[in-house]
Symmetry: C2
Subunit: 376 residues, 2 copies
């Protein structure tokens, strides 16, 4: 699949943002994080891993975005559709882009909307943000959730990229027998699974988690230990592989050597809950209603926690399938269904699939698992 | 090498922070980012890749840190030395840890120091930070750079972990001939080099960049393209591989098929500049003086940019070797020496090594390159 997007993709995003900005009376959006900047520019680099330098993008009420960035990024930003690129020699202990940014904001005019709600953060030093506000002399406010709302609805081109990442993970999961089995340390499985993802076409592997144990695992976020897999263990791997800047995020469970009846029943219940989520996940339905459909099967009430979430340029983004999230599903939203069951005190099993909300039944991007727990 | 650190490592970090807090009259530090939280707790997970949930750590003026975190992290945090762990069911659209955090801060008392200077950011929604400040009713201020100052001086145990990561990259670089040569697309080299890093023991590979071309590359941050390597190209890979939470960050250049005199001369000049950096990098010397020693050889004046930086739990952290950074080198600082030369208009070559500042000559953690440009 070709890299990046045609310019029309970015023109559409900008037009939709500017229409919302006009409605909300905003003169500019100020963006500082990787996915926010990339959404409007296509600027894709792993260099965000270096936190030393801030990066700024201004979305004006009309005209193309203005990039105010460290000079080290000038060549790459010039390869995008952005024309107005202003740079400084970062990091500068005296003025790390502050006056350059304030000048640009003054030109564009306020009020300046900054993403400020759930799941957002401002990726620049707090002290410098205060200085920018003083120097710009404009009103700063929140972004009225414009950026999050736009990003939540994926274009067909974005969905194709997420599907591509899901396919990479599917091919890697199909090769699990090559890298795991009784006696293999979990840390080795983690390393080898990342290798498989790369061999199958991932550009990089920002996320891999998992766990193993006879009655499931204690959580789904711990790093791997050197403890070897044993016959009777359940092994789970949960991956966020990236291709061209878009994530997949799903997991698979495997029984090592043999699957007990209890393990098979737990897995079948997870698949049943996933199916209930698939049936509930329709445009117009709320996130908490999909959560309810799945929670009714896995149990645990509100303690069941988050049973899925949005997905895209981030491993997790947008809505959460929880008891409290009233977000209404819309066509083009890509979400995960991620039910979990307690298998013993302090031990769980979790299953996850990736789907797209449509006008009808959801489209499944990950190869939907059946109830049988695969044995390795 | 064993994972993690003995508890004494964290006790020492905490004692040093609390001594500085007493000097500065701070009642608490409020920390929100991965390396800040891990520095005082040992809490290590890739789950930070999910930006949906905020995480908070309070360092009080006496006693152990208090974790105020999403319940999904409770099991893992309980495996660290932290005892006071308060959780909520995140993400919660109504109160995403805000009141829990404000309560904890009120118990501890202010003023509350928040990292606010160069290279820092606050990893929580701006609107929620404003609510926390109102609810806590305490004075919020900056952290007086306490956290950055402490983190800049690595313990021997930390240095050993960085050395371990450097060794992994060294073994991968030694295998470059297996994965690169004329006709191999650069994107394939990137994928395969990440695979080699995993095979050689990396837990994960958060950063890989590089470039290729007959006269060097346009920048050091662009993603790879499918353009195949050609005889006469210079190939550079720059990696940040992680083992047990600590980075290496160095690069290597290779000539594909043959090295021209001009390429060899450019590489030799980079090594000469590195040697000049090594000779200048002594405790008591300023960062800008080390920069000057290297810039005198690679030229370019202030346009030479940043010629190195601190390294540790982040790919880049702490001081910068620039014309403006007056940071004084101290024993225990781990930094990179990263000179670059312009080889043609808009084309560069960059070399990088990792070193530790000591009471005498620096200790080199990456296997120091000689002047000869390796040919593949």
């Amino acid at each position: 699949m070709s890299r990046g997007f045609p310019q029309a993709e970015y023109e559409g995003r900008l037009a939709r943002a500017q229409a919302r900005m006009a409605d909300e009376g905003l003169g500019a959006l100020l963006l500082t994080t990787e996915p926010e900047v990339r959404y409007f520019t296509g600027y894709l680099t792993r260099f965000w891993e270096s936190p030393s330098r801030p990066w700024f993008l201004i979305v004006p009420s009309s005209g193309r975005p203005i990039a105010v960035i460290p000079s080290i990024g000038a060549a790459l930003m010039a390869s995008t559709w952005i024309e107005d690129i202003r740079t400084w020699a970062a990091p500068d202990p005296e003025d790390d882009g502050v006056s350059l940014l304030a000048d640009a904001l003054r030109e564009v005019g306020g009020p300046v909307g900054v993403p400020s709600h759930l799941e957002t953060h401002l990726r620049m030093p707090l002290a410098d943000f205060a200085r920018v506000q003083r120097l710009a002399g404009l009103e700063f406010t929140d972004d009225r959730r414009i950026v999050a709302d736009l990003r939540a609805i994926k274009s067909e081109a974005e969905i194709a990229k997420i599907a591509d990442s899901c396919g990479i993970a599917a091919r890697a999961f199909a090769r699990m027998g090559e890298i795991s089995g009784p006696g293999v340390p979990l840390a080795q499985v983690f390393r080898d699974f990342q290798r498989l993802l790369l061999e199958e076409g991932a550009d990089w592997v920002p996320y891999l988690a998992g766990g193993a144990g006879p009655e499931g695992y204690a959580d789904v976020i711990s790093p791997a230990t050197e403890v070897p897999l044993a016959v009777g263990d359940i092994l789970m791997l949960d991956t966020g592989a990236v291709r061209d800047g878009y994530f997949c995020d799903y997991d698979r469970n495997f029984a090592i050597g043999r699957a007990s009846e209890g393990q098979q029943a737990a897995h079948a219940r997870l698949i049943e809950a996933t199916q209930a989520g698939l049936e509930a996940a329709r445009a117009g339905v709320r996130a908490d209603e999909v959560w309810q459909a799945m929670a009714a099967i896995v149990g645990g009430g509100e303690g069941a926690g988050r049973l899925g979430h949005g997905l895209g340029m981030q491993l997790t983004e947008g809505l959460s399938l929880t008891a409290k999230d009233r977000t209404v599903l819309q066509p083009g939203m890509v979400i995960t269904l991620e039910p979990g069951v307690e298998t013993a005190p302090g031990r769980i099993m979790v299953h996850e699939e990736n789907i797209v909300i449509t006008e009808g039944a959801p489209r499944v991007l990950s190869p939907l698992s059946g109830p049988d727990l695969p044995v390795i």
